[in-house]
Every structure is written in C-alpha cells, then in structure tokens.
C-alpha cells in the first residue's frame, strides 16, 4: 500500500503545491499548464468538489477543488489561487489549489510509505510521504480525482 505505484522510475520531478496548511505533490509529467483562477460556471448536480467548468482556450475544463476532494475545508477561491491543469488518461482537468510552492526531484528512496491509517481518502490519494527541509509533502495520485463510477452513482 505504502509503495508508490510507479516505482519503476527511480528519479522523478514532482511539483509541490499548498492546499490549506498541507503540502502535496504530483508528478510534473502530468501537468500541462498552471494558470490563475477564473470564475467557474457551476454544473448542476455535480459533486461538492467539482467547482464547475472554465474555458481553456475553447475547451471546457472541469475544475476540481482539491481541498474538498481531499476532505479539507473549502475556501472561497480568490485571484491568489491557481489552477493546475493536469492530464489524466484522455481527459484534462483543472486542480484548484492555494499556491504552487516548489519543484522537487525525488527518487524512490526519498519517498516514505504512508502510515497505515484508516482514512479512505488517505488510502485513495496519498501514495507516499516526502520529507523536504523539515516539511512533509504528500505524494498524491490523480487517478481517482474524477472517479467515473462514483460520479455515475451520485
């Protein structure tokens, strides 16, 4: 469980960002672009963590408020928030986060296993912990950010 799913690659670049008081990181290869917050159009009957859709150069991009998705308190977004546009399989989605903090290089040896806790959210998203300068950065997996099955059931 604690082992990273794609441990085949030894060294990878990670992009770290802040959500609330926590820091998370994702593989930089998944990131397409980073842009400022623009007001999203709310979607009817969407899960709470889907803030709506925005126009990304003509394409309709759903925005996931990562804080809510990860079970953290929601904040009304402001101009200081950023949207990380990521590619997941064939879809592009925008992750609403507080700020991008760092680009890290890490290898498997740096990444520590997630402690076995009962939280489903942690089990679903956190793939490992990364200690950087006394901070703790959670490596998260994006596969389930927009889970089709759960959405269909909703």
């Amino acid at each position: 469980m604690g082992k990273s799913a794609n441990s085949g690659i030894n060294t990878r670049e990670l992009i770290a960002f802040r959500v609330g008081r926590q820091e998370f990181c994702i593989n930089v290869m998944a990131v397409r672009e980073i842009r400022g917050w623009t007001a999203a159009t709310a979607l009817p009957r969407a899960p709470r963590y889907v803030r709506g859709v925005i126009n990304l150069r003509g394409a309709v991009l759903p925005i996931v408020e990562l804080a809510v998705r990860l079970g953290l308190p929601s904040n009304e977004p402001s101009a200081r928030n950023v949207i990380i546009v990521v590619q997941i399989a064939h879809q592009q989605i925008g992750l609403l986060v507080d700020a991008v903090s760092d680009i890290l290089t890490a290898n498997d040896a740096n990444i520590q296993p997630t402690p076995d806790v009962s939280s489903d959210l942690v089990k679903t998203f956190v793939k490992g912990l990364l200690p950087v300068d006394g901070r703790m950065i959670s490596l998260i997996s994006l596969d389930h950010v927009l889970p089709q099955g759960e959405l269909e059931a909703a």
């Binding site: 999203a40 979607l43 009817p44 709470r48 859709v53 126009n55 309709v60």
Partner: protein, 706 residues
C-alpha cells in the same frame, strides 16, 4: 510509413467513388433515362476498379470485376439487351462488388456463395445473348472444378524488343484463375552461342479458370504477333475451344530497343514463381492494357467533375475549432470595447463591426467546407431497398429527391442509421404484398420516396411509402394491450399515428429480421432526438405513410436563447422554444405540492423552474417574478420553463462536456460566451421530462450538490 499503403488507401477511396458512379449509372439505366454515355461510365467504373485491384493483387476482386465487366461490355456493344432481369442482376453485382471492395479494404470476408451464384447468373445471361432464352444451364456447372487450360507461350525476341514483359503477362493471366507455371528452357543454347537479343524460353502454364479461350487470348492481345501461343483445354467442357490452336507471330527482329542482357535469366528465375513483386515498372512501359485504360478512364472522369481536392477531415475540424475560437474572441473583444465606454460611432467600434462581419463570413465558409450533399447516404439506400424487398417478398422501388441538399458532415454520418431503419420499416410494414396491392388496384411494385430539402434552417428528410397507411385501429389496440395508453384515452388520428414511436411498440405480429423487434421506431426517435432533431409520421389510410425527420444543419453551432436563472447563464436551444410569455399569478394553479400548471389558451401546461430542476436552488421562484418560455420537447410534449430573465438570442459554438468531464443530466452541452465564461446549454427534453416522470424527481434534489 509505407508508400504502398497510402496508394492503396487512395485506390479504395477511388473505388468508393467508382462504386457510387456505378450504382448511379445503373439506376439511371433502370429508370430508362440512360444515355449511351451512362453505359460507358458504368463500364469504366467497373473497369477502373478491376484495373486498380490488379495492381494490388486483389484476386477475388479482379475475378469478379472481370465477369461483371464482360457482361457490361456485352450490354455496351448491344449483344446483351439491358432488360429488367439483366439490370437487376447488374445491380446485385454492384452490391457484391461493393462488398468485395470493402472486404479487400478491411481484409474481411465476403459471402462467397453469393459471389459464385452471381458469376453463374452472369454466365447464363451472357449465353442468353447467343442461345434461346429461358433455358438456364444447370447451375452446379460453375461450382464444379473449373476447367484447366494448358497454355504454351513462347515469346519471340520481338516481344522483348517492344518492351513487353512476360512476368506481367503471367500475372495478368493469374487474374483469370490460379495458374501453375513451368519454364521450358530446353532451347536455351550454350553461352557462346547465345544471341543476347534472342528469345529461347517457353512457358507452359496450367490455368484453372472458368473462362473462355478469348479471355485468355485477350491477355496476350498485345503480343500475339510476337510469340507462339498455344491454348488447349484439358477438360473438354466448352465446345467453343479449338484444341491445337496455334498462332504464329511474325518473328520480326528488333531495331529499337535492346533488352537487358540479364533479362532472360532474371525472367527465368522469377517467372516460375510468377510473383516478381519487385518488378513494378511504370505503367506506361507495360503493354498491359488494363492500367493504361484505367488511367485513361480516370482522366476522363476527372475531367468530368469540377476541380476538387481531398483534405484530411482532421484539418477541417481543426480549422472549425479555430474559427469557433475566433468567434468567441471577437465577441470578447466587442464586449471589452463596450465596457471601455468607446462610442458606437468611433473608428474602433466600426472596425470591430467590420471584423464581426468577416468572422461570421469565415465561419459560414468553413462550415460550408464540411457541408456535404446527402447523396452519399442516399446512395446506400437503393441497395437496402433491394435487399429488404427480396427478404420480405415485396416489390419496391426507391425514388430519391433532393440528393444535392447539403448538410454538415457530422449530421450526414448520423442520419444513415435512422434512415435505414425508416426505409426498412416503410417496406416491411408500410408496403403491402404484391397480391394485396394488385387487389387494391395499385401497381404490384410499391414506391418508397426518399427526399431531402432545406426548411427554415433545418434539413427535412422524408420517407414516404405508397402502402396501406397506418392501421389506426390496430395501433390503438396494440397500445392498449401494451399498456401504453389508458383505455378511455381520446386520441386524434395524428396522436395514434405517433404512438408507434413509443418504446416497446410494434404492430408486426411476427418478429422479423428486418424490423419489428418492438424497438424499431423508438430507437429511431431517440437517435434523431439525440441529434437535436424531430421525427413525426403522417398517414392516410390506403395511400401510405410519410415519416418526416427534421434535423439541424450542423452539430457544431446552435441558435440559442441566452437566459439567466438564479445568476446562472444558460442557453436554451431556439428550436425548442415555441413562445415566450410573462406569466400572471392568476393563471398559475398548483397541481400538487411540487408541480404547478399554467393556463395557456384554454389548456394547462406544466411549469418547470429551470434553476430548481437543475438543482441550483431549493425554493421555487414566484411565477410572476419570472419570464416563461413555452417549449416543445420530443414528441410534442410541452412545458413552460421559468427563468429570471431573457438576455437575447445568439449563435453559440457547441462544446462537449464529455470530453473532459462527463454527461450532465439536464445539460446538453456547453459553450463559451463573449466574456470567456462557459455557459451551459439546456437539454430541454430532459428538463421537460422531469415534469412527467415522478421517478426521477427525488433524485434531482440537492442531496448530492453543494
């Protein structure tokens, strides 16, 4: 990657065009309006396919095309009269040829029995030209092993001198049937005595093919004078053959070209295998008549059509996307200029207006690129009619009108299925059997009329049959039986007719292969509605029924009404809106705790609060505080939508929500507004349905939304 693959792809694209021309020509011939040139065009089409297929060694295709072509040649030369039976055969052959082309393209398989049966029919029909009619030969003849021809072929040096190649001739021969080639090199002299320009080789070929001797001779037509050709038939089935027939050419000497010194040796090693694939000389150098003729035919047909270019669809789509964005950007710019408080008469505003016109024009032109005549879909239908008519034992003829009507490619691709279903239905359920028709004083052959026309920004397709019309008593009975209507329901004739679109409705007493699984028209309607279209039927007893299908011209843009509901901007497709009104509180009556109805010209129409039905808010808006839009959903179901305000009408570019997210109930698609924000396009049918199905209502609550 592989240049051959690209050429092959082009060949198949051309095949599609040739097949279309073939079918169109044959139909002209059938209707009796053909000119001499039509027959030629039909012949050329088959011939070009055959020629091309030969290059790609598509043997099955070549063999069948050859038989087909031979028959057409007889028609062309007048030895075979193009009567109804012959044309029927030719049309079916065109179907099989299309199947073979498709099979060759996809490496698929074809119904070989059908192909073989047609070949037999062709043999019979070609013989009809010479023999007394209506004495069909026993059919199994062609299914028996094909007769073997023994061919001895000894080229003279002049043959090589004229730049002919034996390998190509042998390959050409192979199109007639499987061949076995043995090289007889006994006359090859010692090297010291060998004349480098001489010819010493003989090929002994065994050909298994059900063809005439003339067909074999045709292969050697161009070299007949420069070789010794000896053709005998091993199985004396054909009386036409002349055993021991020898043609001796004049052994003239060469004075123009030298054959390469290694030529003979190379041929000797390559020919027995009969597959020197590396030998692909430019067609102009070969004496093979087919590619040359094919090229000539192609040049002719190319001259006949207006100048066109073939463009990858992706490029056009990309351009349409970009123009869509240009329109959005232009709108954004206009808005910014307006916000900046620049006067309308100023230079900037005027230039911007000019830009707006240009953008619109570019958009229209780009859309026109994708617009295609519905011909491509209509052309598939005659075949369908033939097949369904054959399956049902009915006689049917398809008459098409307005094939030139243009519609966006995205729509074209998706009307084929509903049309297919409607035509099947028209023949299977609409037309009566020939006996019944005769009894009713109609010609035995039923007519299915397929027409297309533009009407008020939509394309209208009609499928009309001259059958018995809808049996309303039976439809009503059936609907009662299936519990689709209440026993005491008073329905107009029109309403009864349209019952056939209800799910689970089928009047066919027996479930047939063709239609009548009880899903038919329901599925058709759903797919039409999914395209933003409508379908309806009108019927006159004894005179036939007409299905009318109306579709938007494009799926890329939509005319919509911009409205707002609780601060959310929404687009309501203009096609669904019947009228707008300002409701009065006195006209609104509660039907139950949730649903209100409004009195509208004597009737009561359920009201839907758009914002509430989409889950944007909990409480319902006061009807007299809002604007109402009377909309008509699928099947003519009406409802009144309540919104806060109407902001006007505009054309919007449709953007998919599914591409990056998923389908949202109640929302058809999204678009980008002038301010760069996304607005959602309302799925009117889904929202209207919420008034009708209690089941879905509780789920629409806010339990899940924030």
């Amino acid at each position: 990657m592989d240049p051959m693959a690209a050429i092959r792809e082009t060949f198949f694209q051309e095949c599609e065009e040739q097949l279309a021309e073939l079918e169109a020509g044959l139909i002209l011939m059938e209707s009796g309006t053909a000119e001499a040139e039509t027959v030629n065009a039909v012949f050329r089409a088959v011939h070009s396919i055959k020629g091309g297929a030969g290059i790609f060694a598509l043997d099955a295709l070549v063999r069948f095309a050859h038989v087909f072509e031979t028959a057409l040649d007889q028609v062309r030369s007048g030895t075979l009269a193009a009567g109804a039976a012959v044309l029927n055969l030719l049309l079916r052959a065109a179907d099989v040829l299309a199947d073979l082309v498709r099979a060759a393209r996809e490496n698929g398989t074809v119904d070989e029995a059908r192909t073989a049966a047609l070949v037999v029919e062709f043999t019979q029909i070609s013989n009809l030209g010479h023999e007394p009619p209506l004495t069909p030969k026993p059919a199994p003849k062609a299914l028996a092993p094909a007769p073997a021809w023994l061919i001895s072929f000894t080229p003279a040096s002049a043959l090589y001198a004229k730049a002919n190649e034996t390998a190509l001739l042998l390959r050409e021969l192979r199109r007639l049937g499987p061949i076995e080639v043995a090289l007889d090199a006994t006359h090859l002299p010692e090297l010291s005595e060998l004349d480098p320009e001489g010819a010493y080789l003989t090929w002994n070929i065994t050909l298994e093919a059900d063809c005439t001797e003339q067909a074999i001779r045709n292969v050697f037509e161009f070299v007949e004078d420069d070789c010794q050709l000896n053709i005998t038939c091993a199985t004396p089935a054909e009386p036409a053959l002349k055993p021991g027939d020898v043609i001796t050419g004049d052994n003239g000497f060469s004075f123009e070209f030298f054959p390469p010194p290694v030529f003979d040796d190379e041929e000797a090693s390559a020919a027995p295998k009969a597959e020197p694939e590396h030998h692909e000389p430019p067609p102009a150098l070969t004496a093979k008549q087919n590619p040359v003729e094919a090229m000539a035919a192609k040049a002719e047909s190319a001259a006949a059509v207006s100048a066109t270019i073939r463009v990858d669809l992706d490029r056009v789509d990309r351009m349409i996307d970009l123009v869509g964005e240009l329109v959005i950007n232009e709108a954004m710019l206009s808005q910014r200029v307006l916000e900046a408080g620049i006067a309308r008469a100023s230079g900037v505003a005027m230039a911007l207006e000019e830009l707006e016109h240009l953008t619109r024009e570019i958009q229209d032109s780009v859309m026109a690129i994708r617009a295609q005549p519905v011909r491509s879909v209509f052309q598939r239908m005659p075949r369908l009619v033939r097949e369904v008519a054959a399956q049902t034992g009915k006689q049917a003829r398809l008459v098409t009108e307005g094939e030139g009507t243009e519609v966006d490619k995205t729509v074209i691709e998706r009307i084929a299925d509903p049309l297919t279903h409607m035509i099947r239905n028209a023949i299977d359920h609409g037309l009566e059997s020939p006996e019944k028709r005769l009894a009713a004083g109609k010609p035995a052959e039923g007519i299915v009329r397929l027409s297309a026309l533009h009407r008020s920004g939509r394309i209208v397709l009609e499928v009309a049959d001259d059958g018995a019309g809808i049996n309303r008593a039976r439809v009503k009975e059936k609907a009662l039986e299936n519990g689709l209507i209440a026993p005491d329901a008073a329905l107009t004739d029109d309403e009864i007719d349209n019952l056939i679109f209800l799910p689970g409705f089928s009047t066919a007493s027996t479930v047939s292969d063709i239609s009548g699984r009880g899903v038919g028209m329901d599925v058709v309607r759903q797919s039409v509605v999914a395209l933003g279209g409508r379908i309806s039927i009108s019927s006159r007893p004894g005179l036939g029924s007409t299905f009318t299908l109306s579709l938007p011209l494009t799926l890329a843009v939509l005319d919509g009404m911009v409205v707002s509901a609780r601060g959310h901007t929404l687009i309501i497709p203009l096609g669904a809106i019947v009228e707008t009104l300002k409701p009065k509180a006195a006209d609104v009556f509660p039907l139950d705790g949730e649903i209100n109805v409004i009195r509208l010209r004597g009737g009561y129409v359920p009201m839907v609060d758009v914002a509430a039905s989409l889950g944007y808010c909990d409480e319902f808006v006061e009807p007299d505080q809002s604007v109402a839009l009377l909309v008509e959903g699928e099947g003519g179901v009406r409802a009144v939508l309540l919104v806060d305000a109407i902001h006007g009408q505009r054309q919007v570019v449709i953007k998919s929500l599914e591409a990056n997210y998923r389908a949202v109930p109640g929302i058809a698609a999204a678009t980008v507004m002038g301010d760069g924000r996304v607005a959602l396009i309302l799925d009117v049918d889904a929202v209207v349905k919420t008034t009708r199905s209690e089941l879905s209502r509780p789920e629409l609550s806010l339990a899940e939304a924030r």
